[in-house]
């Protein structure tokens, strides 16, 4: 797991995993289709990524598929970091 994935995974665990929830979350765990993150609470994740990496992710790209795992999110962030570089 690279640094980017580790940062995103740490945020996902802190932001979305309730106390007492012992589900293991890895870089490939389905987040939205797995019921861990819903589209309503996904907004804070998108904002975290935009602030942390100084990027803008258009709503058209912030799809549930793109946000469905730490790995896919990291790929999305990587793409926009290149665009904004």
């Amino acid at each position: 797991m690279d640094d980017l994935e580790q940062v995103i995974l740490a945020y996902v665990k802190r932001e979305y995993i309730e106390d007492g929830d012992d589900r293991e979350v890895t870089a490939t765990t389905p987040l939205i289709s797995g019921g861990i993150v819903d589209s309503f609470s996904m907004v804070s994740l998108k904002r975290f990524l935009e602030r942390k990496y100084e990027i803008q992710i258009p709503d058209a790209d912030a799809t549930t598929a793109a946000f469905d795992s730490v790995k896919s999110i990291a790929a999305l962030v990587g793409r926009f970091r290149e665009i904004h570089a």
């Binding site: 979305y16 309503f40 609470s41 907004v43």
Partner: protein
């Protein structure tokens, strides 16, 4: 575009997808008034069957209360059937304003505005009050109508973990750069039946200069010592800036909702909230019935006291029988089964035993949190609950789920 074959097939596939996912909803036709016992035709075409109703929001049993029905009948005669106008043109009668004043006094707020439903109140309130300079911070388990209402507003949206005041505080700190902050929560959460920690939320809102909005639809009329709602239960009457609630549950159960709270905020809704501006309001017959409901609730706490006793008794019966229930104080008592198919099977078998309940599963509740949601009513008598628990025990034995906790149930049936 004509409704051609390809368009029709597209929608047919959508419907098939819903069926294949096990999410297809079917109505059950009730051949009686709403009550503790109802006559239900299910499946469609079957002979109607008498069942004990444990899934209505008829918390105070007022849906077919004779005094409410009579008041509605008189209202129909005196103020007619419809208004054929939105409120601000020629759709406001004296009784609409009377009801708003009665609700204001009952809820302990400054003013109230009626909406066609609480769904409409939630759809209109945030857009009317907040702009892109502001932020809405909602509990993650708020009702779908709040989610939709927040999306219609231009304010930034954020969420905090369910009833987690530490997480809410982090979010309030994070958003100190916004012009206004509004914390949004349900009073009683409809799926779990737990009560929001409004005292803690108000304390944080005062500390971090935020407004508080509570949807008290599953509380108005019965939560709190005199039934004023969650704010009474938590000792923060007068400190909630916006309350949205419904007349469609405990308060007679017909339809209608409202925004109640600070007078400037309510007045802005009167000026700007689109569901209020562009839709007829509550029909006169319902307003007349609701005024009688207010009169009954202000005169006595007997109904909410009976509901409280029923809820406590039902929780005790379920726990003694060995069901895994969510702890709480409200008349919403979820029986946890975790597995979606098991929840559907148990609900079906209970119906065969004369008990009407519904299984809830993802996406209505979180994955792995399938349950039967039971709801009590002041219309229930002890004998209804005694009969219901016998059916629950019988079905519980069939599926070998009695006396088992979360881990054992998941081990037995999977998620």
């Amino acid at each position: 575009m004509a409704y051609g074959t390809s368009v029709r097939e597209h929608y047919q596939k959508d419907l098939e997808g819903i069926r294949d996912a096990g999410l297809f909803k079917e109505e059950r036709y009730i051949h009686s008034v709403q009550a503790a016992e109802i006559c239900v035709e299910f499946p469609a075409g079957a002979a109607p069957k008498q069942v004990i109703n444990l899934c209505a929001n008829n918390y105070l049993g007022l849906s077919s209360n004779p005094e409410v029905v009579e008041a509605a009948r008189k209202g129909l005669e005196r103020r007619g059937y419809g208004m054929s106008s939105v409120r601000f043109i020629c759709g406001t009668q004296d009784i609409h304003r009377q009801l708003e004043k009665r609700l204001t006094a009952f809820l302990g707020t400054e003013d109230t505005l009626l909406f066609p439903s609480c769904m409409d109140a939630n759809a209109g309130v945030f857009e009317a009050l907040l702009t892109d300079k502001d932020v809405l911070i909602a509990d993650r388990l708020v009702h779908a109508s709040i989610v939709d209402g927040m999306r219609l507003s231009k304010a930034m949206q954020d969420t905090f973990k369910h009833s987690d005041l530490g997480h809410l505080e982090e979010k309030l700190q994070e958003h100190q750069d916004k012009r206004f902050r509004m914390v949004v929560t349900d009073g009683v959460f409809s799926m779990d039946g737990d009560i929001a920690k409004l005292d803690g939320i108000v304390a944080l809102a005062e500390k971090y200069d935020a407004m508080v909005c509570v949807d008290d639809s599953h509380a108005t009329g019965f939560i709190g010592k005199t039934g004023r709602g969650t704010h009474e239960h938590c000792g923060v009457v007068g400190k909630i800036d916006v309350i949205t609630t419904t007349l469609g549950k405990a308060m007679g159960g017909a339809s209608g909702g409202c925004v109640s709270g600070r007078k400037e905020l309510v007045e802005l809704c009167r000026q700007r909230a689109r569901p209020y501006l562009f839709s007829n309001t509550v029909a006169p017959v319902i307003v007349a019935g609701a005024l009688k409901v207010m009169e009954l609730l202000c005169a006595s706490t007997d109904l909410r006291d009976k509901l409280e006793w029923n809820a406590s008794y039902w929780r005790k019966l379920l726990a003694e029988a060995g069901f895994d229930i969510k702890a709480g104080e409200s008349p919403i008592v979820p029986v946890m089964l975790y597995n979606a198919k098991l929840a559907q099977d148990v609900a079906r078998d209970l119906f065969a035993e004369g008990i009407y309940v519904v299984g809830f599963f993802f996406p209505v509740v979180a994955k792995g949190q399938a349950r039967i949601r039971t709801q009590l009513s002041a219309a229930h008598e002890k004998q209804h609950l005694d009969r219901a628990i016998e059916a629950f025990k019988k079905v519980g034995k069939k599926y070998d789920i009695l006396g088992k906790g979360k881990n054992e149930l998941i081990q037995q049936y999977g998620l």
